[in-house]
Symmetry: C2
Subunit: 80 residues, 2 copies
């Protein structure tokens, strides 16, 4: 069994309204040292593949399904 | 400036219908080596604090706002 993590975040140039809303809420709570919050999706994927092929499989899945290539970028991390 | 990452995921005992839906979709695409997918939220928080106090601040924010203590658990990682 192999566990692979995928992080999907908005590209830098893309506005993150949800992140801005949470930043405003956090400031209202008094945490003014917070400058910026960006929110993304996080996937923990368990596969029967070995490490090498698991990374390849998950990169394909991220490219086709998990991340919107126009607005989002993704990062794959094999945990083992 | 300090960057801190927060990972919020469902507790193991909690059903993850979204994760199950993505698993089914991935199987339809032919990736049958995928056993399980769990989906969570991922926050990148930038603060003006130093590392030590930034971690403390973010843990408080995660406890109060980012994670639902009944269903979710969170992990804080200071990136620096």
């Amino acid at each position: 069994m192999t566990k692979v993590k995928v992080y999907v975040t908005y590209k830098e140039s893309i506005l993150d309204p949800q992140g801005q809303a949470v930043t405003a809420a956090v400031h209202k709570m008094g945490y003014n040292s917070v400058e910026d919050i960006r929110i993304g999706k996080y996937f923990e994927i368990t596969l029967t593949d070995s490490d090498a092929s698991a990374e390849q499989t998950v990169a394909e899945i991220a490219e086709k399904l998990l991340a919107n290539p126009n607005m989002e970028s993704y990062r794959v991390e094999v945990v083992g």
